[in-house]
């Protein structure tokens, strides 16, 4: 999967699960900039990303996925190119 598709899929998942519009998710989006992104939504977000990409995160990764950039890096490392 190419990086553009990965990026767009993550944005789509975030918009749906956090219930915000796509343009509210800038490149610097993080738990600090998006108000709806609390710890319970975070859990749903992780579950959805895992389902959509067919991957799994371990306990440490789950805690580290705090921004769009970090999520992209973690997904790219797991999804075959």
């Amino acid at each position: 999967m190419d990086t553009i598709t990965i990026h767009n899929t993550i944005i789509e998942v975030m918009a749906a699960i956090l219930d915000v519009s796509r343009d509210q998710i800038g490149d610097d989006a993080s738990m600090d900039t998006i108000k709806a992104w609390d710890s319970l939504k975070h859990m749903k977000l992780v579950m959805t990303l895992e389902q959509e990409f067919g991957i799994e995160f371990d306990d440490q990764e789950v805690v580290d996925l705090l921004s769009l950039r970090l999520i992209e890096l973690a997904v790219r490392a797991k999804v075959p190119a």
Binding site: A16, I17, K44, M47, Q51, E52, D59
Partner: protein, 588 residues
Amino acid sequence: MTTASVVFEGVDETRLMAVTTAVKSARAAAQEHGPRLAVHVMADCTMDGLETFLDFHALRGGLDAQVVLGRYNIFHQDLVNPASDLHALNPRLLVLALVRDSFASEPETPVEAVTARLEELFRLAAERTSAAIAVNTFVLPVADYDRGDSAAGRIGVVNDWIRGFVEANRARFFLCDWNRYVAAQGREACLDWRYWYLAKAPFKPAFLTLYAADLAKIGRAVLGLAKKVLVLDCDGTLWGGVLGEDGLDGVALNPGDYPGNVFHAVQRQILELGRRGVLLALCSKNNAADVLHALETHPHCLLKPGDFAAMKVDWENKAGNIAQLARELNLGLDSFVFVDDNPFEVESLRALLPQVETVLVPKALYLYPEAIARMADRFFYPASQTAEDAGRTRLYQARREAEEVRAGFTDMASYLRSLDISIDIHPIAAAEVARVAQLTQKTNQFNVHKQVYGEAEIASAVDSADRAVYVGVVGDRFGALGLTNVCILDRRGEDEAAIDAFLMSCRVFERNLEYVMLDHVIGEARRRWRVSRLRACFVPSAKNKPAETFFDNAGFALERVEDGVRHYVLELAAYQPKIFDYIRKIDN
């Protein structure tokens, strides 16, 4: 659900993303989403995600769910405090989602200690709310051996106790068997050990979606929307082969052979559905005498003529016959499910009567029992059985005989006279509370204003000074028809009373019992409260046309019409009772 239902086709219901998107589009596409179902979830674990799946399954089933996840693990306080969010929502469905850890701190905690704590919570929930309550079994651990006193063994015993409690309290309680979801999807797909230990969230989406689907079905049943009638074809559906050609000995129904064993198994499933209160009916193109003979005499035929509430066995069009069955049973076509092995019949029914759900017998016959099990689970779960339900088929049969008798009478009055109709009208007794609550849920046709009451609300009127519930128990020469009429009266100030509810089960239509009931409660209102005026209103729904002109016919004056609601008043001094000499009132 018209435009929005398209959104749900082909959605993978195990994926949070697909489900979230479908819910969003459905909500955007349609203004109306069907009757509202307020659900409060009380959990001692993290259940986030369940609300999305429940919203999805409810919408797909034609319900507009409003799901509130209660605060984590503080349900005793929420139940007891009248100012809590729970009581503000006043849910129709209360979900108790409980994990075993909260009730047994150690694997060795004795079974009795666990069940005592569960029972205390269940009873508190039933007492403090008027909601239907969904409880769950505990997920069993993997146990490679079980000596009876193992942890798995003890959980099994607790689960059996929970099942027993639900069974004994089935008017209020429903069971969601968590082990069934785990068995269907596998432990790996269901249990999220990572989030269990990180956030006390035990379940993955594959589990949550099955749980939510069951809860949505319970919601439909609670709102009186579950299917009620299973219509069956005969040849190729109840037995293999064609009765008219292969003869009684030639049809496949022997449990010792394939495919006879398949049909035998299916008949057993159908019989069980009948026992749980589903009305069974036949609709088949055959000679009626052949079918009756087969049902009566085939040694392996489990279904007998007496198991069917109605039959249409002739050479007429099935759509017309099923519409006729709906009239005969006085039920809407949307409460029917039809099973046939002929794709033509199934397709033409889908085209002509789209309200009727259809099931085609699978070509691979060994899959037929599984298809019936899925159909039962989808349309007839959960079975809510009351004593009334169990006797219902017998009642419908008696009425079928009555209709045959009616053919022999030229005028209606002499027919009604021959029925020897009796009605016993009295203030509600404690034992009748469950049936009255059930009638407020299930009665759609003769119901001047459909308001669904829980048992607690009905029970609270029993001793009230300003509210009275009257019931009518009807019988005729074919047998007891049971509690069929309900009227709830409210006192309004010194001089007025108002009818809050007035409804009648469809099994006693066209006997003028509604007027006898009204006359009785007018007498009671005068005697008890000394009022001189009675108010009432008719709130139209899609189904209550049979009650539309009742107040006009009874002599009420139409005061005004507001938003379709017809407001009536009756000055009791001017009231002229209607007399029906063929109805015998039983005095207590």
